[in-house]
Symmetry: C2
Subunit: 467 residues, 2 copies
Amino acid sequence: MTSEQFRAYGHQLVDWVADYWDRLPALPVRPEVRPGSIAETLPAAPPEQGEPFPRMLADLDRVVTPNLTHWQHPAFFGYFPANTSGPSVLGDLVSAGLGVQGMLWSTSPACTEVETVMLDWLAQLLDLPAAFRAGGPGGGVIQDSASSANLVATLAALHRASGGAWRESGVDGRFTVYTSTEGHSSIEKAVRIAGLGARALRLVEVDDDLAMRPDDLRARIAADRAAGAVPALVVATIGTTSTTAVDPLPAIGPICREYGVWLHVDAAYAGAAAVCPELRDTHAGLEYADSYCFDPHKWLLTGFDCDAFFVADRAGLVDALTVLPEYLRDAASGVIDYRDWQVPLGRRFRALKLWFVLRWYGAEGLRAHVRTAVAAAARFADLVRDDGRFEVVAPHPFSLVCFRLRASDETNQELLRRINATGRAFLTHTRVRGRYVLRLAVGAPATGPEHVVATWRLIQELAGELS
Amino acid sequence: MTSEQFRAYGHQLVDWVADYWDRLPALPVRPEVRPGSIAETLPAAPPEQGEPFPRMLADLDRVVTPNLTHWQHPAFFGYFPANTSGPSVLGDLVSAGLGVQGMLWSTSPACTEVETVMLDWLAQLLDLPAAFRAGGPGGGVIQDSASSANLVATLAALHRASGGAWRESGVDGRFTVYTSTEGHSSIEKAVRIAGLGARALRLVEVDDDLAMRPDDLRARIAADRAAGAVPALVVATIGTTSTTAVDPLPAIGPICREYGVWLHVDAAYAGAAAVCPELRDTHAGLEYADSYCFDPHKWLLTGFDCDAFFVADRAGLVDALTVLPEYLRDAASGVIDYRDWQVPLGRRFRALKLWFVLRWYGAEGLRAHVRTAVAAAARFADLVRDDGRFEVVAPHPFSLVCFRLRASDETNQELLRRINATGRAFLTHTRVRGRYVLRLAVGAPATGPEHVVATWRLIQELAGELS
């Protein structure tokens, strides 16, 4: 592709993306698609000769957009949001164009140093404990997702709990890991990947607000210790996936200290809330944490993938993950080689999109984004409470509201099915205390209070048909 | 950012990328940078108010480009190449703009189905065994890198070797893993992450061509089995990182079958060569493999990250990795949920860049790209052999040439330092049979024979200064 072609097609695609965003509100959030029907429209074999670019452009509208669940749609309220934004896309474009690989400092110094500074900026924006800043013994790194951050934290914890012997001798059935019954599925997956098996995972009971009960955590750690186990890791959550419950770090932290257990805090979604001082009480007690992660790609206007992972002791993390063959040895010393902070070896220049986002919006713009979503969710919860047919089933400290019809699980399931079938909104579900519950998560940049109100009117209307 | 702003800035950035590529040949491949000097030029704190976009654009030229190792430079011969191309960057731009998340089929059907078809296209382009196609019990998936593919293969192997008990009970010190002394560092890392510890890793001896010795593999497996161990995984390599040695699958495969050991083939770099029929003998015996991976982001014109990972039995892989909480349950059945084929939960629409690349170049264009690099490497090797001061130290079946001055390790190390200090070429090193060796890897799209010849003249000149 010549330079001239790249410029011409590139301009067309930039406009295509802008057009896509412009017409998003008119598209169904989730289309009706029969499994296999998209693959059928594609040739079974790759082309022998190259094709002209306009054909690919045309296929975007023919094959791709009609068959997407539109995560950037203003009425996408499912899962947690996966925000992106103009400056994020543009930063990513530069990253793709540069095509550098930041596994070592020396393989692209700017890739590493801009990332270190951006993670420090994030630490300041969220007012994280000083231990997580790169100026001291800690620091931050971009992981692809909180799943990977939780895995890396698990490995660092095993390394510490074994006094380093884990690197040579592996795990041996003694290590135990703790999270609440509401902890994310990626914790179970990390425990499995690390070779501990599900039997090593302790699911700590939760209180009425679905937050981890410190007394139960202490009892389990003490019992395991007494039985000869080695408690290695506690994963506490700020903003659980089901209901955004907040585990009480001020009570959990001292227990971890007392027993010498690594405390990792998973704030994948809710961490972004800490850009607002009035929401920072959710992060109280974070100074006890050995590691912490949150996803700018969820609620901070940065495209997937961008998880920010912080450790208080980077030397321990690097010691756990480093492998140094001859072909990767390099003269530069005293520098950060992010290869040793993650599972993969290679890495893209993901800090660029973060740099563009943080500068374009500034701290004020990021706070405004979070506040808009929190206010819209509060408005929605008020509307739910005003309708006697419904109930809000859990606290909503952030921008997720869990609610249900005062009816059977089957009726609630059918309500969700009908909402999503309209294509006018997309919600997902969970179970709270065994009951089927609908989740409405606000966070897409295009979502305003009007979309939340319109969705509520739709839900009311469909609920009427069901009674 | 408004739609109009995005269009205007987007066009500017597309042009910026094109300009960057146009001026790349004139830039030093690797600049002289003092560690910390880039971070010093950035503000210590994030801005309170948003900044105008032109400032970010200006900082690309001030902060970023002067401090990069330019992986797309025509004289970048280090490590293995990490190619990108115009169509790859454009596909990635669409992916970033759509901002969808393909963890489940239902969370964006096109994201999953286009990926499945693209992996089938790759399987055909490389003429992989039919077992790896999605039409049967196997199939392919995009991982971020071969490191992650090697880890996922390790987990699937442990699951199978334990009869599924591993999910519940973890590892127990009995499992063993085999690769050659030339296997990639990510295998050691995968073994560590999986909780096996370095003591579980067996480094099989290599022959004179640095390929795995099947007799030694068999002896080690048999001895381990006799000692009560459970041989779980053999990782064979097509194109080792040091010298691109090819392990003999036709001999290794039957041993794995005989002992019921999972055979994973890591062709991270050299897999792309199989687009050319005349280079496919390197893949002989691949029908024995349970899994296989190669990186289109290395040598197939696709930007990082894009590793293609194939399994012969997708059910076993999914069973090893699935975790299903209520909030991820979804009605669609009989579909592929790629979340269960990888470590992280979330995933970008990476198949788009592959789709654009395979269509823009076509099979013919991809073959031409590989052949250009192989021919340039052969030309370089001939030049080295024609100069009595030098020697080629290993076979070069692909586009990597390992060579050295017939002099001390220190002299070779100094030669490499001087080459890279010129900024006119960038090479890396390895050790072969204990000796310090220079590596020249060809593969950047902009690299032609003339760059290889010019680099050889530079090397000769600098060698002259050293004698």
